[in-house]
């Protein structure tokens, strides 16, 4: 199963149309956001309750998502391979191009592949990246420690 994730705030019809155009076969479940279009190839949900979202994420062979940090963190937490498609402001897909910047900053990380061109979607799904490693993070420990100090001193 392929799970597609666009976040709750904005539709991402470019990605949905590309998924909808894939040849029949593997099941595709898509969380579309507020998108009125019909995608007959996909099982669509505007939004999903958190528990259902997590279950689909865990079940997916590969996840395709906009370059939202929630998707990246979920993929890491659940050990699922992730294909990231950044939204583009010039196509009206977001207010600004911060997703392009996020995608560039994340591109070198294990467990995910940034798809700059949706023409490559079929090939990327056929050969997804290896799942992300489950490693503890020193920058996370440092940030927690700093915040703990700030709150203790409040």
């Amino acid at each position: 199963m392929i799970f597609a994730v666009t976040g709750t705030q904005l539709p991402f019809p470019r990605l949905m149309a590309a998924l909808d155009a894939l040849p029949p076969g593997e099941r595709i479940v898509a969380q579309t956001g507020p998108d009125p279009a019909a995608y007959p190839r996909l099982e669509t949900f505007a939004t999903l309750p958190p528990a259902r979202f997590d279950a689909l994420f865990a079940e997916a062979r590969v996840v395709v998502a906009h370059a939202g940090i929630g998707s990246v963190l979920s993929a890491r937490a659940q050990g699922r391979p992730l294909i990231v498609v950044p939204r583009r402001a010039d196509l009206g897909e977001h207010r600004n191009d911060h997703q392009l910047a996020t995608a560039r900053a994340l591109e070198s990380r294990a467990g995910l592949r940034v798809l700059w061109d949706l023409a490559d979607l079929g090939a990327a799904l056929a050969e997804p990246p290896a799942p992300p490693p489950a490693t503890g993070s020193a920058p996370l420990a440092a940030l927690r420690a700093h915040l703990a100090d700030l709150i203790d001193g409040s």
């Binding site: 976040g7 709750t8 705030q9 309750p49 958190p50 528990a51 370059a67 939202g68 940090i69 929630g70 998707s71 990246v72 963190l73 979920s74 911060h98 997703q99 910047a101 996020t102 560039r104 900053a105 994340l106 990380r109 993070s137 020193a138 920058p139 996370l140 420990a141 440092a142 940030l143 927690r144 420690a145 700093h146 915040l147 703990a148 700030l150 709150i151 203790d152 001193g153 409040s154």
Partner: protein
């Protein structure tokens, strides 16, 4: 060893990536008396967090909702009198920090790790009301006069 006092902490984040980052930072205030605020029914309950409060999500394009959201946050802050308000965004987090300042709380903004190139618009707004403002990218922190202390990634 002296026992450091427990604090009343208000932890605020919009649903989605903001909330996920707040969850990852939870151990930083786990020993304190925490109230949680988010924008989606069921999120806090799913994580087993209580007490939790719900506010309407808002952004700069929804000024009326922002007003309602801000009023509700102010109400919660006045009742709770937190020592610290901590948020990972977005606009409801800024409003919570503003309310926190009114009661003299330490107000901490952690800009989302999504903002790798420049600080979010909310993060810039937060500069007016945050006593401590952090970016999760060293270059962004330097450019925006914020602190860098680590990252959830």
């Amino acid at each position: 060893m002296t026992q450091r006092p427990r604090r009343r902490v208000l932890a605020v984040a919009s649903a989605g990536g903001h909330w996920m980052q707040l969850m990852m930072l939870r151990p930083a205030w786990a020993r304190h008396e925490v109230t949680w605020i988010t924008t989606l029914e069921g999120l806090a309950e799913q994580a087993g967090l209580a007490p939790a409060r719900l506010v309407p999500d808002c952004n700069r394009d929804t000024p009326l909702r922002a007003l309602g959201c801000g009023a509700l946050l102010l109400w919660h802050v006045l009742r709770l009198r937190p020592h610290a308000v901590v948020t990972t965004g977005a606009l409801p987090g800024v409003l919570a920090l503003a309310a926190g300042r009114l009661v003299g709380a330490r107000t901490i903004w952690i800009d989302s790790v999504a903002n790798a190139q420049e600080m979010s618009a909310s993060g810039r707004l937060a500069a007016r009301v945050a006593t401590h403002r952090l970016s999760q990218w060293p270059e962004v922190a330097r450019a925006e006069g914020a602190e860098y202390a680590g990252s959830v990634l």
